[in-house]
Subunit: 210 residues, 2 copies
DNA sequence: GCGAAAGTGGCAGACTCTGCCACGAGGCAG
DNA sequence: CTGCCTCGTGGCAGAGTCTGCCACTTTCGC
């Protein structure tokens, strides 16, 4: 009600979008950050949407405009990761071998995960706490497989939808990446598994088996 | 309230378990069947727990004693399938090669799926309708991978938990099976894909690529 | 048969999610 | 600068899932 006492977070980042859009994006990001912080602190199920709204200073009704479901708070970072991967594959030339393209892309994705570990770790940890079956964004990688196969086939002018050999190759590559991800971020242990002190070397090792 | 007018479904199947257990099992199975029938008819989201309870003649409170969540109605048949698979692997001798064991087990599992298609088809169809991310029992195969790898390693006295090579082999095998499953039961098409008129031959083809 | 144990149903309540409407602030002519 | 006009927001009511609690009935072990 007062005439905007102190807006310290949004000075004039980029005047490209309107003020309204920037406010919205800022509020949305703040909500996600607040939620992830609460999840890391108390666990996914122990945090209600009302709690998140209180921390982010928005109304529950507004929350569900930003995120269709509470689960989307967890899937969002994973989805960002998937999009990063899809972008890596799409940018390659048509002549390259599928397996090589996948290997390189997944190796890069490993770097992405390590770079964003602060953001991803609480997510994967929360996923482990959730009742196991319902909403498994990690496995959502498998959903991503179809898109990945399509990009891969399109890249070299292959058939659409992709034949099963292409899809199988993608599934095998993603499976390898998932194996590494389990070792690196899975369950209770954070990074730096005892058997594999160097995550990057371990990723190379796993991907070489494709 | 009347003194049990007509119990046509439970004559005296096997006196091995108590009457109570049989009643319970019968009621539970009837609830699951009623639910799957309703899902096939109207779609997963359009059917409420109250609807299922009315069809199965139980109270909503009782429903949640049988099935912790509504989603479990879908995961149950998939879980049965997973257990069948685990049993197939556990029964092999220690000398056999891991890849051969997996190939044979998954080939057998394909027969299981085809034999139970009446039960599984509405399930997979319903899964496709559910909002894509939340609760994906098909992908639950991936959760099964860890158990499968443990059985496989235990079978030949390997390390526990299994090393990443064993887990990768399992993941690749399951991925191949999933590719076939998508072709066979995926999305809207039932069995008998246009490109692969014979499901069994297609399964052999995919599994040979392991 | 009889007490103990277990299954069942009803009730109230928490939580997620949605449709609806009113309010106010940013955007866009004129 | 002024007046709309769109759009984001919040409040409210309601459906649907899921849980804790208690009373009632049925079954089991002695």
């Amino acid at each position: 009600m007062l005439t905007a006492p102190d807006p310290p977070g949004l000075p004039e980042e980029d005047a490209i979008d309107g003020l309204r859009d920037r406010k919205r994006a800022h509020s949305r990001a703040a909500t996600l950050d607040a939620a992830l912080a609460l999840f890391a602190e108390r666990g996914y199920d122990a945090v209600t949407v009302a709690d998140i709204c209180a921390a982010a200073q928005i109304a529950p009704r507004t929350f569900f405009r930003y995120f269709p479901t509470k689960d989307d708070l967890l899937t969002e970072p994973v989805r960002e990761m998937n999009e990063h991967l899809a972008g890596l594959v799409a940018g390659t030339d048509a002549g390259a071998d599928d397996a090589d393209v996948l290997r390189a892309a997944l190796r890069d994705l490993g770097g992405y995960v390590l770079a964003h570990r602060d953001r991803l770790t609480p997510v994967f940890r929360a996923i482990g706490q959730v009742s196991a079956v319902r909403s498994s964004p990690v496995l959502m990688l498998s959903v991503q497989e179809r898109l990945l196969a399509e990009r891969l086939a399109a890249r070299r002018g292959g058939p659409q939808p992709p034949d099963w050999r292409t899809r199988l190759l993608v599934a095998r590559a993603v499976a390898a990446f998932r194996i590494w991800l389990d070792d690196a971020m899975g369950a209770d242990r954070g990074f730096a598994d005892a058997d594999h002190p160097d995550p990057v070397a371990h990723l190379d090792e796993v991907l070489a088996a494709i």
